[in-house]
């Protein structure tokens, strides 16, 4: 595919995110360093200093300030980008609600990392799962290529007048953020200008036409603004799908909200992020051994792609969900497993679902682990056991 349009280069997902921001021609970047995200914004600083990107880099003293600065920038109509991980995302948390509540189309990369304490700089999805109720759209990428493409799509989605919600593009801390792999980037980012034209479709602060942002909404009003967000999140679903379709039409790489590998098996393994790659190779191995397994990748976490999931799971005999985060005290502690359980109930579909927790704090998870999980679940299924609780794969006693 190396040709006049695409340059074939080695990038890790942090750098892919930086290239995505650069090629989206962002105006303002405000970020605070945290492992494993830091190289993403360092790369953007490089782009600005060498003149490849004309943007304002705001140095701040915390992630709380980073998101505050992003909110201010987006509020005056700037195309805004930031990136963070783990505790940084937690420190931003209250501002996440403000960004979405003010309907500002900020895009943020998250190199997903476990939450302290105990201190872990390594990858899992505890941080991303924690922000599920902030009214941010949440995409989870599985390859560095997907990170690059998703950042560009994220501006298309966020700035759509039917949406106007901020978007997170998440990827595995370390397992993706620091893994170099092949990525095709645009030789000339101008090719994205028609796809994401700079058109400010949202209400902005403007001295010529003054408005008030962030005013109080008393009990007579607050509820209606939240309901607008509910509808925007619902509407975003088709915008996300269409943005991917248009991206494919223009640039040739296809994405969906849910992606399927080796369709047609009666047993499926569903997961998200970089772990899906390991699942794919485990499936290749199991298929060679005569066990047909389907892999399902959840690319969109918010809004939850109900219809797409329904379509890919309704003919299954059993579904295994591997979560890389723990929702402590939840009915099912694997968050995605719980959401799919809710979907099954809502749609009156009766498929046994087996929830596994794995790779917490980046505990090594190989193809052998995936095969082990499948064997374990199949054994439970064949013995007629329905397990309603999450199973903690590989935890030591």
């Amino acid at each position: 595919m190396e040709n006049s349009i695409w340059k074939r280069i080695p990038l890790n997902s942090n750098y892919a995110a930086a290239y995505g921001a650069k090629d989206s021609d962002v105006d303002v970047v405000a970020a605070y360093p945290i492992t494993p995200q830091t190289p993403a914004v360092e790369k953007i600083a490089d782009f600005i200093s060498n003149g490849e990107l004309n943007a304002e880099m705001i140095h701040v003293e915390s992630e709380h300030s980073a998101m505050s600065a992003c909110i201010g920038a987006a509020a005056v109509g700037a195309r805004t980008f930031t990136a963070t991980s783990a505790q940084g995302l937690e420190l931003m948390h209250e501002l996440l609600h403000i960004a979405s509540g003010l309907r500002l189309p900020i895009v943020m990369a998250v190199a997903s990392r476990a939450l302290s304490a105990p201190l872990s700089i390594w990858g899992d999805y505890s941080d991303v799962i924690n922000i599920r109720d902030t009214s941010w759209i949440i995409l989870i990428a599985s390859t560095a290529q997907e990170v690059y493409d998703s950042i560009i799509q994220a501006y298309k989605i966020a700035e759509d007048p039917d949406v106007l919600l901020p978007v997170v593009v998440a990827y595995d801390g370390f397992m993706m953020s620091h893994t170099y792999e092949l990525v095709y980037v645009a030789k000339n980012p101008e090719i994205f200008r028609d796809y994401i034209p700079k058109k400010v479709n949202w209400t902005i602060l403007n001295v010529e036409k003054p408005i008030t942002m962030g005013a109080v909404a008393n009990p007579d009003w607050y509820y209606e603004f939240k309901y607008q967000q509910v509808l925007a999140m619902k509407r975003s679903y088709s915008v996300i799908k269409n943005s991917a379709k248009e991206f494919e039409k223009r640039y040739g790489r296809s994405y969906d909200t849910v992606e399927v590998y080796n369709n047609g098996g009666k047993i499926a393994v569903l997961t998200y992020g970089g772990l899906f790659g390991t699942v794919v190779e485990a499936i290749d191995y199991m298929n060679k051994q005569g066990t047909q397994i389907t892999g399902i990748k959840l690319r969109l976490f918010r809004p939850f792609p109900l219809q797409e999931i329904r379509k890919v799971i309704e003919d299954l005999k059993m579904l295994i969900v591997i979560d890389r985060a723990i929702s402590f005290g939840a009915p099912i502690e694997g968050t995605v497993a719980m959401e799919i359980s809710a979907l099954l109930h809502r749609e009156s579909i009766d498929i046994p679902i087996y929830s596994y927790i794995a790779s917490i704090g980046q505990r090594t998870t190989t193809e052998e682990d995936i095969i082990g999980i499948v064997k374990d679940a199949v054994k439970l299924f064949e013995s007629g056991k329905r397990i309603s609780e999450s199973i903690y794969w590989g935890v030591r006693e």
Partner: protein, 107 residues
């Protein structure tokens, strides 16, 4: 809430933004008062500290000349806009010559 029917999510601007500037004029706050400030034009030295401190702002500088009993001539007057004055008393507190009386509102 007033008599006007309150509008819903279909017609309000996104994100709770207030898109027309200066709309506080539509919300008189004068009926919040218990005490009201009354400027004594005789004592007032037109320093305008009340005008600076008033949070509303409902101290108005009026183009109305005033001549005191002692013969001093002022080119303008300072008056309170009672449609918006909430009766906070800050002007009364700040007046350096005690020219503002604070008297109970009789309704």
């Amino acid at each position: 809430m007033g008599d006007k029917p309150i509008i819903g999510w279909k017609s309000i601007p996104l994100g709770g933004s207030i898109t027309e500037p200066g709309n506080s004029i539509q919300r008189p706050t004068g009926d919040w008062r218990v005490f009201k400030p009354v400027i004594n034009q005789e004592k007032c030295i037109r320093c305008l500290l009340c005008w600076i401190y008033c949070p509303e702002p409902s101290i108005h500088i009026i183009d109305k000349p005033y001549k005191t009993l002692t013969g001093r001539e002022w080119k303008f007057s300072v008056e309170v806009n009672y449609s918006f004055c909430k009766g906070c008393g800050i002007c009364v507190e700040e007046c350096p010559v005690k020219a503002i009386d604070f008297i109970e509102e009789v309704r």
